[in-house]
Structures are given as C-alpha cells and as structure tokens.
C-alpha cells in the first residue's frame, strides 16, 4: 500500500474513533485498524535431523587465517549461562595465554539472542543451543571456524563430527549434551515418580502445589506438555497442539503455582521445593549444593528409559562482533581437550560429548552419584530422543504468545 494511502486511511479511522469517544473497545478497534505490520518475510532455513543444513560461509565475516596465536594482554569476552563454565578452566586459560577473560551471563536463550543481536557487547564466544544456530547464521552474526585451530576435534563422539544442524561443523563446536526430565527429592516427595504410569503427571499433582518448579525456557517447558500427552512432535506447528499446551500450562499455573526458574540446581537442594522439571546436567550438580547433614542420596532424576524424551546439545560459536577471534578458537579447542573437559564437567555437571567420557563408566569414575545415573546421556539417546528445533516464524510467534500469557500470571 502506498504510504500516502496508508496515512489518509489512518486519518479517516482516527476521526471515526474520536467520534466514537475513544471508549476501550473503540480504541481497540482503532488501533487494530491502524495496524499495518509489514515485516518482510524471509525464507528461513530450519535444520532438523531429517533435513540437515550446510550453512554458506559468511562473506562479511571471513574465517581467520591459520597459524596465529592469541595476543598477550588482550581480552576474551564470553557470553554463557551462569555456572556453565568452570572458573578454574577460565583461570588456567588466562594464565596459559596471558589473556583476560570477561564472562557475562544470561538466563535464557531469548534474552541471549536479544543481546547478541545488538552487536554492541562485542562478545567473542557465545554458547547457544542448536535451535538458535540458524538464526545466528542467517543474521550473519557468526564467524566461520578455522578448523586448523581445533586440533582436539577428533575427541568428539563420531556422531558430532558432522552434525545435522551444521554440516561440516562450519560454525559450531558441540559443548555439552543433556536430557530434560524430572528431578525430585525423596525426603520432600514421597511419590516414586519413576514408577508412575506417566511421570510427567507429577508436575500437575496438587499434593505438591507450591512446592514445585518448571524451567524458565519457553520451548522446553511447553514441549513437556506435549510429551505428557504422548505427542512426540515437540516442535509441532499444529494449532490444536498449541491449544492443548495453553490449556494445560494455564491449569498448571492455577493449580500448582510453580516457580519458573533455571536455578533449580541450587534452589531444590536449598529446600525451596522438592520437585522440578530439570535438565540432566543440573540434576548431576544438585548434590554439591545440598546443605550439611542432607544426604546426596535424596536426589533423583527421571528421563524416559526408552530414551523417547527431550534430548539436546549446546554449542560454542565465534561471534563476528568479537575482537579476539584467535583466542576464541584457542578456547574452543581447550574445552575439547579431555582433561580440561573433565574439569569443566566436574564443575558444571553437564556431560561433554567426548569419547573419553564413556556413559557406562561415568558413575564409576566419580562424575555422578549412582542415584543420579539416569542423568547420563548416551549417544543412542540422540537417535531415539526428540530435539528442540527452531520453529517457523509464525509458529514461533504463536508459541511465544502462549508462553507470555502463562508468565503474565492470570
């Protein structure tokens, strides 16, 4: 529509609304009539296991030349979740390369994407999940990797050498793997959650109202409703499925008053609640935050034994806005080192997909207690489980609106 036509139309509508006295419904009609949202729709590539994507190499942000070393005295800016990177690993890197690391943290992927998109913060390394990768590449926010620096790349599980979300690993390196299930404390929740016919139902069990939490991550929390109802497509574009999610989430809010957070790994051990939707890495971490006198044996984690649950991995990418891409590559390579990845695993509780960490021996090797062995992620889980995928823009908007309604409180 020509701009003039649009302006003239608005004037006419404005007169009508003013004549109607701008009552609430009239104002609403007026604003709707003025709505001329014109976001140009761009075909967005969405990778999935059945539709792998090889991203084109960025022309604006070329890969760096091989053979360089980090400049002493420079700063490496890292953007990551809180408590998701071992301070010791960072300190050792600083000492080894005489580089100063500045770590900034975020609470959820949406917040992170908003800040990364501003390009103002000059982060060098960012730790997204793979459902963000397509957006980051297509918005030209990433720098392609120079593989010569990643000498530890072969330490990864073979299935991660050429991942479906980034064929040829042009932009990303896998960081951690995790499942999403249910965590609980046996001293606060007498129900044997794992023995229930449908363990997801426990999060709607009013016996635990006011004593539970769900993840403050829209897609993770909403897809749990689908899994509860036996729907395996956790990236559904169906409006019927979305209605189901909305109904059950609002019911959850009303009857259970859940806390919506990503800090369950500290809050559940502290006794704030005894039941929570949880990431496996956080479950592994909970014993370290239990107060003195509480046995680590009280912690439990459930993930479908069939492996048919939510399974994901996080990545490390080099942002084009960063000022220190060489140090960023060195750091990436460092966390693929078996010993350093082990230190990091010990701190974060999140399993690296490296060959050295055999799932069958993680308990024996002391990386996690036996009562939390269900939190171990196996390579086969990525065949049987369901990954969270980037959603088409219209679906993404619709899902976000439901999440917004849930979080607005009612």
């Amino acid at each position: 529509m020509p701009a003039f036509g649009r302006r003239a139309g608005r004037r006419t509508v404005m007169k009508g609304a003013l004549a109607a006295g701008l009552s609430a419904p009239a104002l609403s009609a007026f604003l709707t009539a003025c709505g001329t949202k014109e976001t140009s729709s761009t075909a967005v590539k969405i990778p999935s296991p059945t539709s792998p994507v090889t991203w084109p190499l960025s022309e604006a942000n070329p890969a760096i030349a091989a053979g360089q070393t980090p400049k002493a005295g420079t700063t490496l800016r890292i953007y990551n979740y809180a408590d998701y990177l071992s301070p010791r690993v960072m300190k050792d890197f600083e000492a080894k390369y005489d580089v100063d690391i500045r770590l900034s943290t975020f609470n959820d992927a949406d917040e992170a994407l908003t800040k990364v998109a501003s390009k103002e913060l000059k982060f060098d390394l960012y730790f997204p999940s793979y459902d963000s990768l397509g957006k980051l590449v297509q918005a030209d926010l990433l720098r392609p990797l120079t593989r010569d620096y990643l000498t530890n790349y072969d330490n990864l599980w073979a299935s991660f050498h050429d991942p479906w979300y980034d064929r040829g690993a042009r932009y990303s390196v896998p960081y951690t793997i995790y499942s999403t299930g249910i965590g609980w404390r046996t001293d606060m929740v007498p129900t044997d959650v794992a023995a229930m016919d449908n363990p997801y139902d426990v999060l709607w069990d009013t016996a635990y109202a006011g004593k539970n939490a769900i993840l403050d991550d829209w897609h993770t929390a909403m897809s749990m409703v689908l899994l509860r109802n036996g729907i395996q497509d956790i990236n559904s574009t169906s409006s019927k499925d979305l209605d189901l999610i909305r109904t059950q989430l609002l019911d959850l809010r009303k009857t259970m008053r859940p806390k919506v957070t990503i800090s369950m790994y500290t809050e559940m051990p502290a006794g704030q609640y005894g039941l929570s939707q949880m990431w496996s890495g956080d479950a592994i971490n909970t014993p370290y935050y239990l107060p003195k006198g509480v046995s680590p044996d009280v912690m439990r984690y459930w993930f479908p034994p069939s492996g048919r649950g939510e399974i994901d991995n996080d990545l490390v990418v080099v942002l084009a806005q960063g000022q220190n891409p060489v140090a960023a590559h060195f750091f990436m390579n460092e966390i693929l080192d078996n010993k350093i990845a082990g230190q990091n695993f010990g701190f974060t509780g999140y399993q690296p997909p490296l060959k050295k960490f055999t799932p069958d021996t993680l308990v024996a090797d002391g990386y996690m207690p036996e009562n939390l062995a269900t939190a171990v992620v196996r390579e086969s889980d990525f065949k049987d489980g369901y990954p969270l995928l980037q959603l088409p823009p219209e679906t993404d908007t619709a899902w976000h609106q439901v999440w917004q309604e849930f979080k607005a409180g009612g």
Partner: protein, 306 residues
C-alpha cells in the same frame, strides 16, 4: 511600585533565569524526551524477520500500531490476560506503600522530634541500607526465607513446632513485605525532612490551648506534614511500579507477576520488545496523574501560604 520591582530585579534578570534553566532543560530533553521517543519508535516500529528484534521507526507517519493494539486488546478485550498483572501491581504497590508509611512515619517523627543529639547518628543509620545494593538485600532475604532458612527455624522455636512454610513459593505477602522492606528508606528521608521543618512552636501552642496529644497530631502535625507524606508516597510507589526483580527473587511464580515483569519479559522476548514500550507508556500515564495532583496540591499550598 514599578520602581520597587525594577530595583529588586538586577540588570538582565529576566534573561538570567531562563539561561540558568537551560542546562536543566537540555538535560531533561536528552535524558527523558529522547529515550521516550526511542521507546515510542520501537513500540510503533517493526520486527526483524530473522531474529525477531525490534526495528525502530522514527517517522510517526509510518508508525504501526499492532503492538499497542495487542497489549490494549489483552487488557480490555475478551482475553484480558495482562489485566490481572496490572491490578496486582496496583494492589501490591498500594499495600506496600501504606506499609512503608506506617513504618516510616513514626521513625521519621521520632528522629525529627526526639532524637536530640543522636539525630545525625540515626539519620546515618537510616541511610545505611542505601550503601548495600537492593539486589544484595533481597538475596539476603532469599537465604533467610528458604524452607530450611533462619525464619522457619526461628518460627519452629528450637524444634518445638514443625514449620515448613514455603515463603519463596509464590506468596503475595512475601512480595509485598519485600517491596516494603526494600523501599522504606526512600520514604523515611522525605518524611523526616517534612517533620523536621514543622514549627515546634505551633505544636506547643496547640498543647497550650488544650488539645490532647492525639488532637495535636490530627489537627496540627498531620496537616503540616501532608505534603511530605504525598512526596514520600510518590518517591516510593513510582519505582515500585516498575520493579520486577523483587518478584523474580522472592517469588519466581507467574502468579505474582507485576507490570515490571511484563516489561522485562517482553524486552527479553524476540518479537515482543515493542509491547514493553506499551507497558512503559501505561506506567508513564499512571505516574503522571498522581504527579499532576501533587503539583496542583503544592501550588495551592503555596498560594495559601502566600
């Protein structure tokens, strides 16, 4: 008369005051009007199709009202899911502000009237909470209010009672008490300033004329400090209106969301940033009404004094 006036006004006096006001005017223009225009440009702007980030539109002729319509629809329309958070904000802020007043008024009264040589020390003690960040003070309460925290331990009286109150699990009372605790120092200072200026001679005169202590308070002290009370209520309630981290830290449950949480959630959600602008405008309009009333009341007070 004209001669007397010209004698009081120094040469160039009519120009000097506007000139002196110029830096402040520029300051307000830069730090208030310009950011507000950015908010409006984002509210009425577009959205980047890939990252769903806001694209501000500076020309009002090209403004798009979709985001405002969405927010407005969900406040007054058939699915008003934003409305409860707005109502909750008004209730929480009103109760917390009144609670602050009940706590702050006696403290300020005592400090202004009876503290004597300890006045300075008391004032310093009252300001002391400002030295610690609000966030840190709230985090301290998180520790105290945990199910196995000190508050429940104290209530269990050494194990006599079995107390497992989940204070941090979505209780309105916890949020209101948190707001009152966090903002009460902001109320004490303006109240103290108002009470300290109240002429003691008038209070003594009321007593000499036979008024009881209560009558003296009701008919002299309270009217003299009414402006200070209004100011202190404004000083505390306005920042409370935009507060979101008290709810985040002391509740974390959507059942206690306030308008500040709606703003924060919208800002951090791709595609919804413009809606945050709509909520900001709502707060602005709601804030301007009591501010105008305050300005009107102080102006009429000045007229009476004159």
């Amino acid at each position: 008369m004209a001669d007397a006036e010209s004698r009081r006004t120094p040469p160039g006096g009519r120009r000097i005051w506007p000139l002196l006001a110029l830096p402040g005017t520029i300051w307000i223009a830069v730090l208030f009007i310009a950011p507000l225009y950015v908010v409006v440009a984002i509210l009425f702007g577009g959205v980047d199709p890939i990252l769903r980030q806001p694209v501000p539109v500076w020309n009002p002729l090209d403004w798009d009202f979709t985001q405002l319509a969405y927010v407005w629809d969900h406040i007054v329309g058939p699915q008003p899911f934003f409305r409860p958070a707005l109502v909750r904000t008004v209730v929480y802020v009103s109760v917390a502000s009144l609670l602050c007043l009940v706590i702050a008024y006696p403290v300020a009264y005592f400090t202004a009237r009876f503290a004597g040589r300890w006045k300075g020390v008391l004032l310093a003690a009252l300001i002391a909470p400002f030295w610690i960040s609000y966030m840190m003070r709230m985090l301290a309460w998180v520790n105290l209010l945990q199910t196995d925290g000190l508050v429940n331990k104290a209530l269990s009286a050494g194990g006599l009672f079995d107390v497992h109150v989940a204070w941090l699990q979505g209780h309105a009372s916890t949020v209101i008490l948190g707001l009152a605790y966090g903002y009460v120092p902001y109320m004490i200072l303006p109240l103290y300033a108002g009470l300290d200026r109240a002429p003691a001679a008038m209070l003594e005169a009321a007593r000499d004329l036979g008024a009881s202590r209560f009558e003296t308070f009701r008919r002299v002290t309270w009217p003299l400090t009414r402006t200070a009370v209004v100011v202190s209520l404004l000083v505390t309630s306005l920042p409370m209106l935009g507060d979101y981290f008290t709810v985040d830290l002391l509740s974390g449950s959507p059942s206690n969301s306030m308008i500040g949480n709606l703003i924060n959630n919208s800002v951090l959600t791709p595609g919804q940033t413009g809606q945050a602008g709509a909520f900001v405008l709502i707060i602005l309009i709601v804030s301007v009404i009591p501010m105008s009333l305050y300005v009107k009341s102080t102006r009429s007070g000045t007229d009476i004094a004159t």
